[in-house]
């Protein structure tokens, strides 16, 4: 569907909504505005800005003009002191830009319900899988990795049908439009560089073929499991020097970094996956596995798996586990892959509810070879029904050639103030 076609479809949905009697529309909304400041004590080769301020406003509106029809719309407004946000005010619906959009349509969905069938069409979120830390089967959930540690999910555009009969669920997804994960900016600290080189992204190209997936789930008495299949593209790209632009240009006398033309390629990906959650007497055992193959040259075939334990005790919630990877065919040169990058790691999180308004949490990841360590502590305090302040500190150490360790200069503290409505 072209952009114009999509606009017509959206207009039709809005018109349908408008034609319904106002009295029959229960309307709900939710949202927040958040100001956030981050202090990085250390400089990196490509980034010496130590203080970054960020603003995010998000609002979502839900209406039900008919018993069988629900409409949802959501938008975001962003600003940033470190050039992470596009200057243009044009509302962005594709979420394909290198920069975060100033204004974006976060959600635009029509949900039709007929008996056991639910159909969602439009811009929406699709989440698969059961584990929390690394989710191998969550293939329709690209993320914004501009700040790798504090990433957020991006919506996708397409159609989702779910048939729920008793304990069985059949979930089918078709995405005609590809949404990539948003990568760290090449000239900023979350793209670690060495040796005086900086990447410069050339005109992006995205897969044009649709993506599809199907998942069957069963919720038994006290346990859940599902199996899934996905055929599409990896929303995390391979990163290759673009030789069509010639060798890197070195300006005589220049003392700045050398720019290398970079091309992002999104490899074809097929996944066979499964996930399960089994509560035992002492904890809940969760597992998830995905086996990935690719027909794209220079892309790996691999298996990602996660085993996770969960337990609540008093005011504590504990989650801990191991994420592993087995490469069955190694072909890739360079790829930005936080899912694979955080595998072969022991990962854990503990949160504590101090009282009705205050909570604290710590989380961490340690590579099994000890080459990368990440730890985060967070304290959060609510004030009244709307305000919340959150203070967090992130500590990262490791080797430059380790996925976690490469961000060793990016330890930081952050202060966020949020007003929810």
């Amino acid at each position: 569907m072209s952009r114009a076609g999509y606009a017509v479809w959206v207009a039709a949905v809005v018109t349908t909504c408008g034609a319904a009697p106002v009295a029959a529309q229960p309307i709900t909304y939710r949202g927040f505005v958040e100001a956030r400041g981050v202090v990085f004590p250390q400089d990196t080769f490509n980034d010496t800005q130590n203080v970054v301020a960020d603003f995010l406003g998000r609002s979502e509106l839900f209406a039900q003009p008919r018993q069988w029809l629900q409409l949802a719309a959501g938008a975001e407004l962003r600003a940033n002191s470190h050039d992470q946000v596009d200057d243009r005010w044009r509302p962005d619906i594709a979420d394909r830009g290198t920069l975060r959009p100033r204004v974006s349509i976060r959600r635009l969905t029509a949900t039709l319900t007929r008996g056991p069938l639910t159909l969602d069409a439009g811009k929406q979120f699709v989440r698969w899988g059961k584990t929390d830390i690394v989710t191998p089967t969550d293939r329709f959930a690209p993320r914004d990795f501009v700040n790798v540690i504090d990433n957020d999910f991006l919506p996708v555009r397409g159609v989702r049908g779910v048939l729920e009969i008793g304990a069985h669920t059949l979930d089918a997804v078709l995405l005609p439009f590809f949404t990539p994960s948003r990568l760290p900016l090449f000239d900023q600290r979350w793209t670690p560089v060495g040796g005086g080189f900086i990447g410069r992204e050339q005109d992006p190209s995205f897969p044009e073929r649709s993506q599809a997936g199907v998942r069957w789930g069963y919720a038994g008495s006290g346990y859940d499991f599902s199996v899934s299949f996905f055929d599409g593209f990896n929303h995390l790209p391979n990163i290759e020097p673009d030789v069509s632009y010639g060798p890197p240009s070195i300006v005589a006398g220049s003392i700045g970094p050398i720019e290398i033309p970079i091309r992002k390629g999104y490899p074809a990906l097929r996944m066979y996956g499964g996930d399960a959650a089994v509560p035992t007497r002492w904890f809940t055992l969760k597992g998830e596995v995905g086996s990935f193959t690719s027909s794209t040259p220079l892309s790996d075939d691999f298996v990602l798996y996660v085993v996770q334990l969960e337990r609540q005790k008093g005011e504590w919630v504990f989650v801990g586990g191991y994420a592993g990877e087995a490469v069955t065919a190694r072909r890739a040169q360079n790829a930005f892959a936080p899912d694979r990058g955080t595998s072969k790691s022991f990962i854990g999180r503990a949160s504590y509810t101090i009282d009705v308004n205050r909570s604290a949490a710590i989380e961490g990841a340690v590579r099994q070879n000890g080459d990368g360590v990440y730890a985060k502590g967070e304290f959060s305090q609510a004030r009244g029904s709307h305000w919340r302040v959150t203070v967090s500190g992130v500590f990262i150490r490791g080797e430059p050639d380790d996925f976690i360790g490469q961000f060793r200069l990016n330890s930081h503290v952050a202060l966020a103030l949020r007003y929810s409505f």
Binding site: T118, R127, E164, R311, T353, V356, G384, S385, R418, S420
Partner: protein, 262 residues
């Protein structure tokens, strides 16, 4: 003859009669207790229920935090399904809980968190945890069913001036529960619960008081429920607003797919 000079058969017979008499009384009381609870359940049965709840959480220092939810229930007691959605405070707006009750075992529960767009099953061993910072636990969000417990009539007592039966209920083996037993006070006049003391071993850990009794569409309903966590020293008051019974509702609005619809 026995050494005491009494005929053995006579003594055994007398003991048996006493035992039989005691068992009969106990059985009668047990039957009465079960009958009372069954009658209470019959009188509160409805096809559906809807209300808007105001939750006020008072911690041990007296600090108040307000939360609000809407609750829809289809069916009654062990054959019911409930969806509960938070509306206040703003930061938890949209968080929802689906409870599928069963007549013969513990409920199945799933929680939807819009912030991460995912549902999560609440494991049985986590049901004793506090429900969203309130003094209700996840298990307390279940609908109790008469067939899930064994009952004993433990006496009669007044609760806030109302004559009540005092009934001990012990969960059956098939009903996984954090509570070892509960003492339930049932008002004689209306067959409604007045108070429940929930025990873990021999300690009362949570106390639920029902008050502000009103007849809504022929069903006597407590409009105010106050749950105290006696170990934490905190309490949560739930006030039921806009309570309506027997609204038309559909089964398909009580599924995992319905849970993620705001």
């Amino acid at each position: 003859m026995s050494r005491s000079g009494r005929p053995v058969g006579s003594g055994r017979s007398g003991g048996s009669l006493l035992l039989i008499a005691l068992l009969s009384v106990a059985q009668l009381w047990a039957q009465d207790a079960r009958a009372i609870v069954a009658e209470a359940q019959r009188r509160t049965a409805s096809q559906s229920q809807h209300y808007e709840g105001l939750l006020q959480v008072f911690d041990s220092k007296g600090t108040i935090a307000d939360k609000r939810w809407t609750l829809d229930r289809i069916g009654s007691h062990g054959n019911s399904k409930t969806i509960l959605r938070f509306t206040v405070p703003a930061e938890v707006k949209g968080v929802a809980l689906l409870v599928v009750n069963h007549p013969n075992r513990a409920s199945d529960q799933w929680m939807w968190t819009p912030g991460i767009e995912r549902d999560r099953r609440i494991a049985l061993q986590d049901r004793s945890q506090r429900f969203f910072g309130t003094d209700f636990s996840f298990e307390d969000m279940e609908e109790r069913d008469v067939d899930q417990f064994d009952y004993t009539l433990a006496g009669e007592e007044d609760v806030e001036g109302a004559a009540c039966w005092r009934i001990e209920s012990v969960p059956k083996q098939t009903k996984t529960s954090q509570y070892t037993r509960s003492i339930v006070w049932v008002r004689k006049e209306t067959y409604t619960a007045a108070r429940i003391d929930n025990y873990v071993k021999n300690e009362v850990v949570r106390r639920l008081i029902y008050s502000d009794l009103q007849n809504v569409q022929g069903i006597w309903t407590a409009r105010r429920l106050e749950m105290s966590d006696l170990r934490r020293g905190s309490r949560t008051r739930l006030t039921l607003d806009k309570l309506v019974y027997n609204l038309p509702m559909k089964d398909e609005d009580f599924t995992l797919q319905a849970l993620r619809r705001p």
